[in-house]
Amino acid sequence: MRIHLYRLICCAMVVLAGVGSTWAIDEVVPVGDAKVTLAKKVTVGRDTITILDGRNQESRMPVADVLYVKFGGEPLELSEAKEQTRRNGKYEEVLASLTKLDRSQVTPSEAVADLAFYIALCRTKLALVGKGDSSAAGKALIAFTRDYPQHYTFYEANELLGDLYRMHKQYAKAVKYYGELANNKEMAARANVLIGWTHLEQNQPDEAVKAFDAALADRAMGPSAEAQQRLAAVGKAACTVAKGQAADAVKQIEEVIEKSPPEGLDARMYNVLGDAQAKNNDAKAAVMAYLHVDLMYAQDPAEHAEALGNLKQLWKQIGQPERGEEANRRLQKLYPTSQWATR
């Protein structure tokens, strides 16, 4: 019950406030619904992070399960940036805030690496929807991977590089960077999922299915691994759409949604569902699917742009042209240079 939970949190904070007055506290925010871990010290590595708790006991967490880490003493803007990008998708505002920071004044050293990463992350996410320079974003990422090869966001940086190359249809390079994730056993499934989507974009559904099946067969456990399995299942459904079996794909995706925990649902699932419904000639159901993205999962700009791009046509098909115009207006305003705005 929420009452109980709140009191628990309050108590925990009171205790820690008492104990932690002489130390800077690090916070580990995990993927999914698990609670935040407070630590005396967090040491980051490429594959795992090491958490030293208040009793000086160490534990390890795979980087795949880490959403972000707040380092004690880091600038407030950086802490805010992590929250706003991961939870709220506010890349433009965060970029504006972080680029004003003087890097030489940032402590601790882990925060300096984080600063470099989050600036690169924001640039990339914006470039993926046509805002900002993708070349500058790529350079920032490459510099980051070169300067901080042992940082816990190393693999994510490689994934973002893969995304940039994919946007430019340089699929071989995209696969190369995605492949880097396979060097981490918890991220191997994700690597396969990303490679699967790359094949799908090249209209190679059979190769895509192989990659998705490899992800599904992965034995890694934990919320992150489960998320990848869901994405792989959705990817396979997208392959089914590509093969002209939209009705089957709808059933597949609905099954994935049915079995997902609330925090496991995301924009990709609903965008693929929307596409499948549209190809199954059910415009209303397609609108419903894309509305999930627009109203609930709009944090990822690229996914949001895709949803709006489809809604602008589909609304008209179901006799609501003014809503289609509204979707188009928002698309033009939010993502004016994305591929969906110019279609």
Partner: protein, 1048 residues
């Protein structure tokens, strides 16, 4: 109380209820509750209803959600009710919601959600009470009755809460002596019971608060009631602060609202500050904090509290926490509004004559501008989306956007000017949305007069605001374009261009809109507004084209521009929808230009299932059939060969048959389909294929006659004008039947029945008009029919007409008039211009005369008494018959007698002039009378009764209604000159007459480029060639006068 206020209060109650939703546990699967809530917040209630409908059978929804469907439906209906503009409409939704909740409560006794349903019923009663209170404030309202009704609803809400409270207290009492450590397994149950206890008290306090609205502002009763509510909230806070922190914070917030309404803003602000000290996690606290900021900011910006700076800073900081999927959340939108208001207040304070010497007072102009720009950015989404603060947000945007602050200098850069323009443009869009909504609401037949009055006032106000803002927007955008530099983003510049294009179109400035639209199409088609701008360009040229056609002016330029833009669209955007739409449009343009092969080319590119294709095929088919008849009537030598003509008609009919088939396959019987059947039947009849026309007219599904007899709504107003459609259909049926009597004598009975139906339908005058038209069509039909069919048609008509005249209808004027005109039509159908009358034509004229004399005889015997005009018409026909059969003097006598009474009877003037022309064939002197009028042998000084062509053309020039007669007169003048020139032997006179032919033609050529239409133009061309030949010149026709007008 304003709508916004009422809805805020309702929000308060809803929020109480919404927070209670955390009873439900998170389960796997579709996030139904959250998505449903998001749909409602976005105003997509129709989608929410569909979502709930779909949930009934979908596996993606868990059992609990499905069980709660009636509840969720009720909640959605409450939201929909609040979006209605009239109380009647709101009550209808409320009634449906009550039915859902009552059913849900009945079928789910003991389940947790039942309490939520009761809470919603409470909310509903409160909303109805607030609605009555609002209505009671309107002028002329029965205040006492409405307030009594409101009180009744409050009492009903109170009853529901009281029973909930009793149940909750009893349930919680079971946990007396509960030990946190020993009874841990019962903790969840206890917490749930505690929640219900606190919640029922909170609701009770909330209803007490709402009751205050029953009393007038500033009254003692109001103050007493608010204090009572504040005390109730305070008790909840005090009693449960340690047991249920969240509930106690909500009570504190409620208490603050009471003090706010009492005017004790300081106390309210203190209480809000206390609430703001609470946590921001988890989400229920976060949501509470957001709502608290809304109320706090409202208080802070009040001049008596004077803490606008706090509102701007603290409210602004909290706004950063908003998540992307909260963009349309009402509380976040409200907060945006109040933070924007705070900024407005800050700037106002700094701009006052004696500003304070604090931070706000020393704000420099740049800082003030930054505040205004910020405020505009904040409030724009509030003004754009449905929410309780939309109207005040729009008003705020208008104030800010129209440069309400004195510190808003003229923009100095493209970006500044664009932003100013954008803000006003956004306001205009909001107002247009409002106008559409009001117009929709006005169509409700159940609106009361006061509701209609209010809506019309709102409509006028919105339209006036748009009228004021449009020129301002144009000025800003044009300034922006003039200030644009290479460093400014091209997309932004093109967005300004597109917005300008749109506004010009909205203002009916079609040339300006078309110019900008075409520019964007040609230079920046892929810019953000490129595609839409090209559509506007097309629409603009289409409007201008329509204006030209309406004024009967030359529209070739507009058509050419339309074609150009359409081609541009086709080559730039290749998606199917655009291609289909544009190809159909181009086809229609080419049809109008007479380029039928190009039209067909474009129609062939359209997808077979495209809905607009059948109508386009019909248009082309009709155009080809008109082309067929025009070419068929050309003189020998110019007429195409029979094979070409036959192909033309076959193509025409095939297109139309295909169009009808496609429309029929679409399933529905539409007015278009009925019209199409009518048109094709008409063509069959004109082509003497009556046997094919009859099945169309009588088609069981879409035959116009079938539907007319069945009084099918498809053929009633507003789809077709009454009784025009009925007359036209009976007319058509009659022509079809009579024309086929020769092949099937049994059709005679159907023809008689049709005449009877027609006579029952309309009055005499309309009937006569109808008969006249039928006779004219008969004439045309005969002229175009091949000989064999001509005879068959004629024999059918003769049988029918003779039976009518000499049978039972022989003493009805209308019928006799029809018979008279029909015989005349038959006669003219068997006559050829310039050739002697055939025996058949003579016999028909004789029958016409016989019929006319029958009419006159019946009038003399007083057996019928047609109107004066009707009698004139009969006499005119008899005069014409006399003229046609060569009894010219008799004809002229009759014409003069008619014109003596009615000198301005144009048709008779024309007939008289034509009679002279006929006489001119044997004696050319009569051409002079045809030109100048008068009568040979008339006394000098006697006023001519017959005008002649010259006078006819002068009289008809002044009146656009008679433009066709004008052109006919001018043509005949040219013919008369030519014939005089040909007939005269004197060389000098001959040249003068022939030159006059050319002069008369040139005058028309220069002043009226269309020369009265394609047919007349062709006749002029032939005449001039003949004149040129006579003069020994090269027979180049009209090209002597200059190039033909450009085709596209």
């Amino acid at each position: 109380m304003s709508n916004a206020c009422a809805r805020r209060i309702a929000i308060g109650l809803s929020a109480l209820i919404a927070a209670g939703l955390f009873h439900s546990s998170a389960t796997a699967g579709e996030p139904a509750t959250e998505f449903l809530s998001a749909l409602r917040q976005a105003g997509y209630h129709d989608m929410a209803l569909d979502y709930l409908e779909g949930a009934k059978t979908s596996k993606a929804f868990d059992a609990e959600f499905k069980q709660n469907l009636p509840y969720e439906l009720g909640v959605t209906l409450i939201d929909m009710a609040q979006a209605q503009r009239t109380e009647r409409a709101r009550d209808q939704y409320f009634d449906r919601a009550i039915a859902q909740f009552d059913g849900f409560i009945k079928n789910n006794a003991g389940k947790p959600k039942v309490n939520d349903a009761r809470n919603r019923l409470t909310e509903l009663n409160v909303l109805r009470a607030l609605s009555r209170i609002e209505r009671s404030a309107a002028p002329g309202a029965d205040k006492s009755k409405l307030l009594d009704e409101a009180k009744g609803f409050f009492d009903e809400a109170e009853k529901i809460i009281e029973s909930q409270k009793t149940e909750a207290d009893a349930a919680f009492a079971k946990f007396k002596g509960w030990d946190e450590k020993k009874d841990k397994d019962k903790e969840a149950e206890r917490n749930s019971a505690l929640f219900d206890v606190v919640w029922s008290r909170l609701q009770q306090s909330q209803v007490e608060y709402m009751r205050a609205k029953l009393h007038a502002a500033g009254s003692n009763e109001l103050s007493v009631q608010l204090k009572k509510a504040a005390a109730a909230f305070n008790k909840v806070y005090t009693d449960y602060q340690k047991l249920y922190y969240y509930g106690s914070l909500k009570a504190r917030l409620g208490e603050g609202r009471c003090y706010q309404d009492l005017g004790d803003l300081k106390q309210a602000a203190t209480l809000y500050d206390e609430c703001l000290g609470g946590p921001a996690d988890p989400d229920i606290f976060r949501d509470l904090k957001t709502k608290t900021f809304v109320y706090a900011c409202e208080v802070w910006i009040d001049p008596t509290v004077d803490k606008a700076q706090s509102a701007a800073e603290r409210g602004g900081e909290w706004l950063i926490q908003a998540r992307p999927n909260e963009a349309r959340n009402h509380d976040w939108l409200a907060l945006r509004y109040f933070v924007a208001r705070a900024k407005e207040e800050i700037v106002k304070k700094a701009s006052a004559p004696n500003p304070p010497k604090d931070e706000a007072g020393t704000l420099n102009p740049a800082a003030r501008r930054a505040h205004i720009d910020d405020a505009i950015r904040l409030v724009r989404p509030v003004a754009a989306h449905p929410n309780p603060y939309r109207t005040p947000a729009q008003e705020l945007l208008d104030r800010l956007g129209s440069g309400g602050s004195d510190d808003r200098d003229e923009p100095k850069s493209f970006a500044e000017a664009k932003t100013r323009g954008d803000d006003l443009f956004g306001s205009i869009r909001s107002k247009m949305f409002l106008i559409d909504k009001i117009k929709e609401d006005l169509t409700n037949p159940n609106n009361t007069p006061e509701e209609v009055k209010r809506m019309k006032e709102d409509l006028a106000s919105a339209e006036k605001a748009i009228e004021t803002m449009q020129p301002q927007v144009i000025a800003y955008y044009r300034l922006a374009l003039s200030l644009a530099r290479p460093s400014d983003k091209l997309d932004d510049i093109n967005t300004v261009r597109f917005n300008l294009c749109l506004i010009y179109y909205q203002q009916d400035k079609y040339y300006e809109a078309a110019v900008i639209g075409e520019f964007l199409l040609q230079r920046y088609p892929r810019s953000p507004g490129g595609r839409n701008a090209s559509k506007i360009a097309l629409a603009s040229w289409s409007k201008l084209n329509g204006e030209r056609i309406a004024k009967k002016e030359d529209n070739k330029f507009e058509l050419a521009r339309m074609a150009g833009v359409a081609q541009g669209i086709l080559t730039t955007w290749t998606d199917k929808e655009t291609a289909n739409d544009t190809n159909v449009l181009l086809a229609n343009i080419y049809i109008e230009q007479g380029q039928y092969a190009k039209a067909k080319e474009h129609l062939d590119k359209v997808s077979p299932d495209f809905p607009k294709l059948p109508a386009a095929k019909m248009s082309l088919g009709q155009a080809l059939s008109r082309e067929y008849f025009t070419k068929k009537r050309l003189p020998e030598g110019e007429r195409p060969d029979e094979a070409e003509l036959t192909k033309l008609m076959e193509d025409a009919q095939a297109l139309m048959e295909d169009g009808i088939r496609s429309m029929d396959e679409m399933g529905m019987v539409t007015p278009h389909l009925v019209n199409a059947a009518y048109s094709l039947a008409q063509i069959y009849i004109d082509d003497a294929k009556n046997a094919k026309a009859i099945p169309l007219i009588e088609h069981a599904r879409y035959g116009p006659l079938t539907l007319l007899k069945a009084k099918n709504p498809v053929v009633q107003p507003p789809n077709f004008k009454d009784p025009d459609f009925a007359i036209a259909t009976y007319n058509l049926a009659l022509r079809a039947y009579i024309g086929a009597i020769g092949e099937d004598p049994e059709l005679l009975a159907k023809a008689e029945q049709t005449i009877a139906s027609l006579e029952k339908l309309v009055d005499s005058e309309t009937l006569l008009f109808s008969y006249t038209r039928m006779a004219q069509e008969l004439k045309k039909q005969l002229a175009d029919a091949p000989e064999a069919q001509k005879q068959s048609i004629a024999s059918g008509y003769v049988k029918f007409l003779v039976k009518m005249r000499d049978g039972g209808n022989s003493d009805k004027y209308d019928t006799l008039a029809y018979i008279l005109k029909s015989f005349e039509g038959l006669a003219e159908g068997f006559s050829e211009e310039g050739k002697p009358l055939s025996p058949q034509a003579k016999s028909f004229y004789a029958e016409a005369v016989k019929t006319g004399e029958t009419i006159l005889s019946l009038v003399d015997k007083k057996k019928i008494s047609p109107s004066e005009n009707a009698m004139l018409a009969v006499r005119a026909v008899l005069a014409r018959c006399a003229s046609r059969t060569g009894e010219f003097e008799t004809a002229l006598d009759m014409y003069e007698a008619i014109l003596e009474e009615k000198p301005y009877l144009l048709s008779v003037q024309v007939d008289a002039a034509m009679a002279y022309q006929e006489m001119g064939r044997t004696d050319s002197k009569y051409y002079k009378y045809a030109l100048g009028g008068g009568r040979p042998g008339a006394r000098v000084g006697e006023k001519a009764k017959i005008w002649g062509w010259t006078q006819i053309s002068k009289v008809t020039l002044k009146n656009a209604k008679f433009i066709d007669t004008f052109h006919e007169a001018r043509y005949q003048m040219a013919v008369c000159y030519f014939e005089l020139g040909r007939a005269t032997e004197n060389e000098r006179s001959r040249k003068i007459y022939l030159t006059n032919t050319k002069k008369a033609t040139l005058a028309i050529f220069t002043q009226f480029p269309t020369m009265g239409g394609t047919e007349l133009r062709a006749k002029y061309d032939r005449l001039i060639k003949a004149a040129q030949k006579e003069l020994g010149e090269s027979p180049v026709g009209l090209t002597e006068f200059g190039p033909a007008p450009a085709d596209s």
